[in-house]
Amino acid sequence: MALLARLRESYLLHSFLRDPVAVGSFIVVVLLVTAGFLAPVLAPMNPYDPAQIDVMDSELAPAWIDQDSSFLLGTDSQGRDILSTILYGTRVSVLIGLGAVALQAALGIGIGLISGYAGGRVDAVLMRVADVQLSFSTYMVAIFLGAIFQATFGVGRYEQIAVPFLIAVIGLAEWPQYARTVRASVLAEKKKEYVEAARVIGLPSGRIMWRHILPNTMTPVMVISTVQVANAIMSEAALSFIGLGMPVTKPSLGSLIKSGFEYIFSGAWWITLFPGVVLVLLILTINLLGDWMRDFLNPKLYKS
């Protein structure tokens, strides 16, 4: 309760409520994420359950175009309700996005902290690795990792482990972002007097690193985390679209768009459009939230 009271009086909440774009984005993100995680309850049907799908219903137009259709957003080629597949797909996309960012953060924060605190040769080597990996563009790294994994495991086995695998691929591809950010703030914090004081009273360096320096590097970490979730969702969609991500049997938003694209030439635009709109909306609102947070946490930047 004390935390809530503090939040109510805080400048954070005040400035958040004054920014309609931030509030709007927040509401949309919360709605999309809740809808996704409540998919089994909210969705009109379970698109993974063959008993509930009727092939006779395939490629029906949305309800407002085709009067006979009882499906609000139409159906795909297998007769699955688009609204349901989108809800389930959003859940998969968000899950992978959050998981990948958690892995990136764990790897990147650990490496950045060690690199910044240890300095010297360790720092040089770790940052070189990060530099090199960043110079290869995270998409390329993710695409290569995906290709290698798929070639190693074979498509059949791959489908079962797709979610943890995608989390690993995107997590491994993007950790340098965190490592660099954390290292930069560790270098700045390291020189401050509280760290000196902690060292003088003889605390072990592990404790100084994790308990004293780490909490003070969290501001930039929060800023990039928001944007990184959007990036991770986008990477996942891209990987799924080129067939290196979620299989069509357990689709994310990206694989829904992929499977819809095959039918766009026959005029069934809704299979592609609706998952696409949800994907863009999700990424856009998370990005807008990230922008707001960056402006808020960085007082040097004022919106022009």
């Binding site: 090199v132 110079s135 290869f136 998409y139 070639a151 190693t152 969609a237 694209f261 696409g276 807008l288």
Partner: protein
């Protein structure tokens, strides 16, 4: 060696440690050494994929061969040698452009990639032209008139642009311009002209150019928001500079002030970012080529993944890795030549 250096210093630097006397030279050497290291790491990864996943015997003779015959072949190919020996052999082959036989195409994998490279590079070139033509005027305009309705609209649009995945842009373009309006072709490269034995260009025929329009726009849409924002930010900074006031006070024509005095000074960061993003664009060609069935490297690469054509996969990895390394090293060295701070602290 820097041209303006004192003769005495130059003389000394030849026999003492060049590290202290000529930091630029040391920087270039260090940067190239790093590039070589990265290529070696790429070769190890490529070799690992080949050894763990690939089957060179199958690549050569297919699957319908008896077990004894396979054993004899793998002995002949040296597949029973220790791994380091095999790696050195792989490296030696790679240096001569020999990365093994593509299982599907029955041709050297590197040759397959090189034949497909022009298609991808033409696409990247066309997208770069669009980026230059659009982002420079828009960026400058948004910097000069930050409060105008149009610049706000453009900047808002760039946030939305960042959030639309490239394949979705591509699909929307296909739906509107190819299916709905029927103005432009939706897939393939169209009519091509053979320039040399390995380079077929689509840039010289009307049909080829028409086929290029939609893929190039899609590919450029990834980078446009970034460049517009970058040019705007740099330009805004330059506009505050004293020499801009001076140029205005001298009564120079406004466009001359903007372009010659203003924009020219934003070029360094723009070119640096541009060089690095060129590599990123190659990554995005994989997505664009998939949507448009564009017969380039990325398209072939995904096919190779589906067919488990490891030699081709490795050839793509090595070729694209090489391009990334060359571009990044060149950009770093040029940046180091222009900006002395970089030589001491490393990049950025």
């Amino acid at each position: 060696m820097r041209p303006g250096m004192q003769p005495a210093a130059r003389f000394r630097s030849t026999h003492t440690s060049s590290n202290k006397k000529n930091p630029m030279f040391a920087f270039i050497v260090r940067r190239i050494a790093q590039a070589v290291m990265v290529m070696l790491v790429i070769s190890v990864i490529g070799f690992a994929i080949k050894t763990a996943v690939g089957d060179p015997v199958r690549d050569l003779v297919g699957v319908a061969v008896s077990a004894e015959e396979r054993a004899r072949l793998s002995e002949e190919l040296g597949l029973n040698d220790p791994l380091p020996v095999q790696w050195v052999r792989f490296l030696g082959g790679a240096l001569q452009g020999d990365l093994g036989q593509s299982f599907f195409f029955k041709r050297p994998a590197m040759e397959v990639i090189l034949r497909k490279a022009p298609a991808t590079l033409e696409l990247v070139l066309a997208a770069s032209v669009i980026i230059v033509l659009v982002s420079i005027p828009v960026g400058i305009y948004a910097a000069v008139r930050p409060r105008a309705a149009l610049s706000r609209l453009l900047m808002g649009g760039s946030v939305v642009g960042v959030s639309i995945p490239v394949f979705l842009t591509a699909i929307m373009l296909i739906y509107v311009f190819a299916i709905h309006l029927g103005w432009l072709p939706s897939y393939g490269r169209g009519e091509t002209v053979r320039l040399t034995s390995w380079w077929e260009t689509g840039l010289l025929t009307k049909d080829g150019l028409l086929h290029l329009v939609l893929p190039a726009i899609s590919l450029s849409s990834v980078m446009l928001p970034l460049f517009i924002r970058l040019i705007r930010a740099e330009m805004k900074e330059v506009l505050e500079a004293e020499y801009m006031k001076y140029a205005r006070a001298k009564g120079l024509r406004p466009w001359r002030i903007l372009l010659v005095h203003g924009f020219k000074n934003t070029l360094l960061p723009v070119i640096t970012v541009g060089g690095v993003q060129l590599g990123t664009m190659i990554a995005f060609t994989v997505l664009t080529e998939t949507v448009f069935q564009w017969q380039g490297m990325g398209f072939i690469f995904l096919e190779a993944v589906e067919r488990a054509d490891t030699s081709l996969l490795v050839a793509y990895l090595v070729f694209v890795g090489f391009m990334f390394v060359v571009v990044n090293t060149a950009v770093d060295i040029i940046y180091g030549l222009v900006n002395p701070m970089v030589r001491i602290t490393g990049r950025k």
